[in-house]
Amino acid sequence: MRIAGKGLLDRSKPVAFRFDGVRYEGLEGDTLASALLANGVRLMGRSFKYHRPRGVLSAGSEEPNALVTIGRGADRIPNTRATVQEIFSGLDAVSQNRWPSLAVDLLGLNDLAAPFLGAGFYYKTFMWPAAFWEKLYEPAIRRAAGLGALSGQADGDVYDRAYAFCDLLVIGAGPAGLMAALVAGRAGADVILADEDARMGGRLLSETGAVGEEAGVSWAGEVLAELESLPNVRLMRRTTVVGPYDQGTFGALERLGHHLPHRGGGPLECFWRIVARRSILAAGALERPIAFRDNDRPGIMTAGAVRSYLNRWGVSPGRAVTVFGNNDDAHRTARDLVDAGVHVAGLIDSRHDAPQSDLFPVYRGAQVCGSAGRRGLENITIRSIAGEDRLQTDCLAVSGGWNPSLHLTCHMNTRPHWREDIAAFVPAPGAVPGLSAAGACNGTFSTAGCLREGAAAARAALEDLGRTAPPVVVPEAEDDPYRITPLWAVAGRGRAWLDFQNDVTVKDVKQAAAENFRSVEHMKRYTTQGMATDQGKSSNVAALAVLADVTGRSIPETGATGFRPPYSPVAIAALGAGGSGKGFAPERQTTSHAASLDRGAPMIEAGLWYRPSFFPAPGEKTWRQSCDREVRMVREAVGICDVSTLGKIDIQGPDAARLLDFVYTNGFGSLQVGRVRYGLMLREDGYVMDDGTTARLADQQYLMTTTTAAAGDVMRHLEFVTQGLHPDWDVRLISVTEQWAQFAVAGPWARALLNGLLDAPLADGDWPFMACGEVSVMGVAGRLFRISFSGEHAYELAVPARYGEALFRELVARAEGLGGGPYGMEALNVLRIEKGLITHAEIDGRTTAFDLGLGRMLSSKKDFIGKTLAQRPGLLAADRQRLVGLKPVGAVKLITAGAHLFAAEAEPLRANDQGWVSSTAFSPTLGHQIALGFLSRGPERLGEVVKMVDHLRGVETLCEVVAPVFFDPEGGRARG
């Protein structure tokens, strides 16, 4: 219920929302949890395993119980914490993990089966018969024991990612974080202050104490106003820093749209990578419950959460509240409630020396040992020396002490330290390089202490950053000592809950210890303690303490479980922002792209490039018709093909030839200016890396071409050789792939076409096969290479890229005038297979020059990359699978790429495998299927019939082994 005069919300701003279909009203600034409590709704969820009715335990992101699904349809978001979800007009929240409804959950039958579902039940039950596990047990358990479900439809929400850089990242905007940001901000440092909450201020929003002369919340408001005004400070609200990474990098999730009724196309969440030179963790502390029988009933929550609901949201979670604690801080809750006019039925303090009060009854040296009520708390049982007593109450505020929020300091594999005086773990110093902890997350719980530590941490960071700290006065504030006597679990029968989200009880931990799972890591896995989505934020330390107790060890001796990133769950969609679908993948288009699309050419991806597959002519219905026509066109007239995607590397300098000689297997020293040579590159392990042609354009200038696929690899390789192996060589490289548009002009009429186009016709005898030089193309300076990837008389004509499109259109028009036209990747592939020319289908990283029939290209006169290891006996063995041609000779005429080769009479088993097919095509020139493949001792077996078997497609074809060059083996057409 809402308490008059309490809270920070504006009572004049009502917001209507729905929970499980029922309409409620809350206030602007409410969370779903505070609004439901204001409406008297305590039951908000069902537990994971036993389907026990549950209400809120906390008022923050550590909430284990109140998980709901927000929205409906494709965009619904399961497992949202009601304590974090801000309400907005039209919010539609639904409870989960129950059937048919939250109030009547038939799956609650699991609770009756509890004796069989204790620690290790996953490992003990359902073990036999083995086949039943996958088909029966696991699906049944998963159905009953689950959290919310995704819609199963594509997520229509938008997610984003962003990067930020700063001098100082301050994580948490409570008193310590605000003070740190203020000091560093005034010093002029670039500061990012991030807080997971919608409103900054941390515990100051939930407490009534003063800071300086004013209320803490007013002080926070003034500091925030000043920080907002500083251009060097960035405030990031609703932003959870989820993990630290190397060299000062942090991951952070900003929730941009969860609180908005309409996002207008904006992102739901943004995942930030923040790089900070220094960082301060000011994440505060989380209160821990005390385990006692049936301590999971709706209405039982942490004492600090009750203060938050009262002081921040103006809500009392009950009409007759009781408080149970083992420390002085719990008394604040009772005092604040009384101040607000809420009835406090009693404060039960386990300490015999607990402070007394005249505002409410204090039960010193007493413990709460049980609770009762239907779907919510109605009374508790108190045990003291005097015996047991019942107390009517609808809300029990529990405080077992506070655990510093040191999670981020564990993420890089450092374990925290135990501090006996506060009965809690604190961060190990230096756990994250560049990060220091300040305030409650460092074990300093008083407001004054937090302010002091925040300021000190900022001053230390400024000193590291080489900046002068400004004079800043740390205001006065509450500086009470933190007095606590540990109490983890109240002894007694029944089930006392530790991990609410995974339904782990004190008994489960004891059973684990009894079965010798005494290591904390074993206990954790055996009981699933701390392994739910909240990572045991409110239960790990208590579970550890129980384990320590039953195994007769101290807590530090027992150990500490670490935490892993993310601090709180992050949707995969946020981490993968920009990566769904095409994402940010660039598209590389050639200059002829639009002209090719104009002709209806379907595009095919080649790495990031898009290249035309074929150019359909009127009346053609299949790609094969177009491809066959284009092949005949090149063989009989002239074809135009954009080959700009091949890598082009300009190599210049006195030592350019030395470099080429070193990276190619064959000699380049003798290459004359105006000539092109085919070269083969190996990796240092002796296998083939790439092939291509290199032209000598001038005395000290070469132009290397690489395959489209390996362009980047070759560039990197050349850079490695020149920087890492021969920095003494005077040679420079640059990629010019995108600077030049290059077109193949191939076919018997290629020369006639060029003579009509070039400003000076090609003189007879000046342009033999493998010649190159400068030409003028309608006044544009270009380069011409007489090279052929089709086996025809062919040229490649290059012009600066800005002339590419115009030249392509001109070439195609002229080719058509000669009975030719453009050709695409399909025809290009057929033409090269007919000629036995290799691509990366053959250079697949496992083949050697010997395998490819190029062994003679390995020079014996010089050293080159890969030379030594290429001579290994295994790489030269006669029975290696080596390049051959294949053609069908039986009834079946189909040869498929990827099929395997066997001796004609052999069983097609792996043991009999003799090779495989790398490339296939229908040859319109020869009128049948042809293929390239690798066959053991292949070149020795020409004329033999082998069996091709494609196990995947169910094809079996008898093939004759032939030489890999099917067409014009003498090469007369290309040279003529």
């Binding site: 990474y245 190397d246 060299q247 000062g248 990098t249 990578r273 790089v275 890089m412 390089p433 240092e684 392990d685 980047g712 990197r716 850079e719 490695f720 920087q723 890492g724 192996l725 920095p727 003494d728 050293d863 030379k867 030594t868 290891l869």
Partner: protein, 87 residues
């Protein structure tokens, strides 16, 4: 992880291509023998501690770097240009 390129300054590791141990800079002579070549191409240490490896600033200046780092703490101890280490 961030690497300080001597030419470009501190950059995210996504800008870099990783090659492996800096041993690759010590290429043996062609006639150095099987053992030397086997060690050069295939044998690598796998230290829990300080290691030196080669990174290529692919999305930056194109420099090959020798990065000295600790595989246990992920601390980067030094970054040098491979061209300077090799010469």
């Amino acid at each position: 992880m961030r690497i300080s390129c001597p030419l470009c300054g501190p950059r995210d590791r996504r800008e870099f291509y990783y090659r492996g141990a800096a041993v690759a800079l010590q290429r043996p002579a062609a006639d150095a023998g099987e053992d030397a070549w086997q060690a050069y191409v295939f044998l690598r240490d796998n230290p829990a501690g300080v290691t030196r490896d080669l990174w290529y600033h692919a999305q930056g200046c194109g420099a090959w770097l020798v990065v000295t780092r600790d595989t246990a703490s992920h601390e980067i101890l030094a970054t040098e240009l491979a061209a300077e280490v090799a010469s």
